[in-house]
Amino acid sequence: MLQPLNPVNRAVKNLGFMIALISSIAGCVLSLSILLSGEPLHVDVLQTRMFGTIAIHADRLSAFFLGTISFLAAVVSIYSLGYATEFLQRRNMVWLVFLYHAFLLSMAGVVMAGHTVLFLFVWEVMSLTTYFLINYDHEDPASRRAAFLYVVMTHIGTAFLVVMFMILYVYTGSFSFEAFTSAGPRLPAVAQSLIFLCATIGFGIKAGIIPFHIWLPEAHPAAPSNISALMSGVMIKTGIYGMVRVFFDFLGPEIPEWWGILILILAVTSSVLGVLYALMEHDLKRLLAFHSIENIGIILMGVGAALLFSSLGNKTLAAIALIAGLYHVLNHAMFKGLLFLGAGSVLHGTRSRNIEELGGLIKKMPWTSFFFLIGAVAISGLPPLNGFVSEWLTFQALLLGFHISDLAVKIAVPVTVALLALTGALAAACFVKAFGITFLGLPRSDHAEHAHESSPTMITAMGLLAMACVVFGVAPGLVVSALDPLASSLLGVNLSGQVALNGGMLLVPQSTSTSIAPPVLTALLMAIIVVPLLGGYLIGGKLRKRVAMTWACGLQKIGPQMQYTATGFSKPIRMIFSNIYRATHEIEISEETSPYFRASITYELKTESVFLKHLYEPVYNFIIVSARMVRRIQTGHVQSYLAYIFITLVLLLLFAR
């Protein structure tokens, strides 16, 4: 279906993404105005007899998520101007632009909806548009499978959400969120817990927490990269938004202790397993998708800790934990967006996502690699970038919880702290692999050899996100002062000036004895580079350089095949965590004349997903088996079907008299 390159297609692309850019900027402005003024936006959309007044209601929480979504959407729109050029020849641009706009609008709608009907409608629109976007490359069977898996999982999630809203309706007699907020805390305990569980599963599927994650590593790589950036950066965050909205706004603040524990368990499982699975991936986009699972885990650590502390009555600490979680929401949107856009550029420049075929791109794509490096440093939680600040806040919130004398806290907090530390270290290992194998060394294939740098719009977009990573890391006061009133209002405490001091220079959680000053730290790090530069010059004089080839163990020349591979890189970690991976490998050696000279060696490695094998496969098999059983009563005769209906009717009448 190769279409001739027509000007209309190009015009649609340019116009479409420009409009998206402008409306996203408008979204940013709206969100900022709500965040700064604190006045919620309330618009009545429609009067209905059945459901009451359907309204848009955006408070600070909505505004924060709206701002995150709009900012990333604006950047991705710039990126798409260049990136979508490659689809011009083979795809219908109107369809892409339509889906893109519908996707953005639905995400904004989800966080601003103030009524059940509106919420479920935009929620479904979001699911459907992403379904079509994942399926954009519909010739590829993998894309079709991924899209199908996504749509099945997300509908299971929606089913739980519908149940949740029904329970809320039964008790409050209203569909509007304001009624839920006022009546939620007075619900009976059982109903609250049911709502909690439904929300955890329903929103958890969208957020991609383990064990509901199986759609995520399939769907994110299948979509075009600009869409993956949006999906991974902000769409999965709508799940987090839903959880925070339901847990703290609807149900809070008096909640049972086990909620927090359950969320923390899900959080640590997601983060540790997410990063461990990411380490085994060689597909750049799949690797990033698994990291999204990891980061959702880190966000949920903050949310879970907030629930736990809130249930024990320590609202101030809960607010700090919630700030940490929400801060990570923003940070993850920035660096994951950046990394996915970077992966898109790599894909654009080399036509390959398999990092085993890449290498040496830092010379061919200098800008992309520089920005990708910033993203990699940020996601590894290293100072002075933004990932560090939110991880630091999470650590602090957890450590301050040590002084609560409660058995569950005493066990949950050390375990969470330990696993958060483990996650951070493993993430750094994973990004050394991802960046090192992709961008450094010698090119491992022709694709990588002939890579080209991306178009200026794509580079500008990545640069903007990289700048955001730096700014949110160096000046955390900006974000914290916006999150402060948000967390305070959700938890009913006054936090003003307790976390960020001296105009955002210092971050101080609760007690004044612990602090970090990211701007000063950054300045110090930059300034102190003078010492080695000057010291080296004073002792050794001017630096003299000689260029000589890398040592090749005595061989003539170093070749790309002599470099470490991604599989080799992750081997020690595969051995350390062999119980989790259960890896099996096969080596196939074809010999020709002598055992010392081998024609080829094939190495195949498989790791096993515990959840696929022990959770999803049994469920799937059960459904198939029960479907077979049901098929027996399916005879093909219309009369017998009528008989079934008749029998059901009679039974219903008997029992439901």
Binding site: A421, G436, L524, I529, V531, I539, R546, V547, T550, I573
Partner: protein, 318 residues
């Protein structure tokens, strides 16, 4: 003393102290090891000459290498210097303690390691990749172990600020005898051995591909770049010894900025880290290098010890 002036003076003093003492400590360890092997060994000041020589020599750069190769030595050196400003050595609280806490210190180490590991992959050498892969795997266990070990002390003191931990513990010596601290100390000692690339985890004196970790990553470095990297790792050792000694035996550390207190503090600091350096050398001399895939088990002991320390804090200590 003027406040800003004092901050600058004390900070520069601390910086110079760590910069200047780092090669000496490494010399002492080498000397002790030599004596264990019935050799006379090089003088303890030999590392100074080595560094001066390397700083003067030209650097050899591979054409495969990128700009990362050239900035990493400076970045690693600078991040280690910042760490040296944040960790209490002779005086507590250090003047700039409000800039960063223990988590910052650990993550600054991680920053340096991240870039060195990238450089291992930068030149396209098989050795470099091997080193980075091993280093990052080892780090993935010791970094959390280190955090947990220090958090045990942090929880006792009620703050993750290193200066405050040291100050609180030195004012209440009974708290030091907490059993959780003993566990944390043993955990942190193993971490020190692993982080600074010593036997039985790594061997700083080998270039054998079967065993080397840190040396493999920096194999392509030469001249001034190598000098900076080596010096940075010597400083890293001093910082770790300072952490071990001041977190768990904060005896004699200065609490004011008077010259006399600083003098006593420096003397106490040198005594403590020299004793610890000799212990490290004894451990190195009396143990065999572990097989590479036995290393994680050894490190896991550190992780579990630190974890138990944190748990024990509730069970018996507190």
């Amino acid at each position: 003393m003027n406040n800003v002036f004092g901050v600058i003076v004390i900070s520069s003093f601390q910086l110079l102290l760590v910069l200047a003492s780092a090669p000496l400590i490494s010399g002492i360890i080498k000397k002790t090891k030599a004596r264990f092997q019935r050799r006379r060994g090089a003088s303890v000041v030999q590392p100074y000459f080595d560094l001066a020589k390397l700083l003067r020599k030209e650097v050899v750069v591979s054409p495969v290498a990128s700009w990362l190769f050239r900035i990493t030595p400076y970045l690693v050196f600078a991040s280690t210097l910042v760490i040296a400003l944040l960790v209490p050595t002779v005086v507590t609280p250090v003047p700039l303690h409000w800039i960063g806490d223990i988590i910052t210190v650990i993550y600054l180490f991680a920053l340096g390691r991240f870039f060195v590991a990238l450089v291992g992959l930068d030149t396209g050498s098989a050795f470099g990749g091997l080193g980075s892969s091993r280093e990052m795997s080892v780090a993935s266990i010791i970094e959390p172990a280190m955090m947990l070990a220090i958090f045990t002390a942090a929880v006792t003191a009620g703050s993750t600020n290193l200066s405050i931990i040291v100050a609180r513990l030195s004012s209440t010596p009974v708290a030091m005898l907490n059993p959780a601290h003993l566990l944390a100390f043993s955990g942190l000692f193993i971490v020190t051995i692993a982080e600074t690339g010593r036997v039985p985890v790594d061997n700083p004196a080998t270039h054998l591909e079967l065993t080397m970790i840190h040396e493999a990553m920096i194999l392509e470095y030469s001249g001034r770049y190598l000098a900076l990297i080596e010096w940075a790792s010597q400083m890293k050792l001093v910082v770790f010894l300072a952490l071990l000694s001041n977190m768990f035996f904060p005896v004699g550390i200065a609490t004011t900025w008077s010259p006399w207190a600083l003098l006593v503090g420096s003397a106490a600091f040198f005594c403590k880290i020299i004793v610890l350096a000799v212990i490290v050398a004894v451990v190195e001399s009396t143990n065999a290098k572990l097989r590479l895939f036995r290393v994680p088990e050894f490190l896991m002991v550190a992780f579990i010890l630190s974890f138990l320390a944190l748990i024990l804090f509730f069970i018996i200590g507190a």
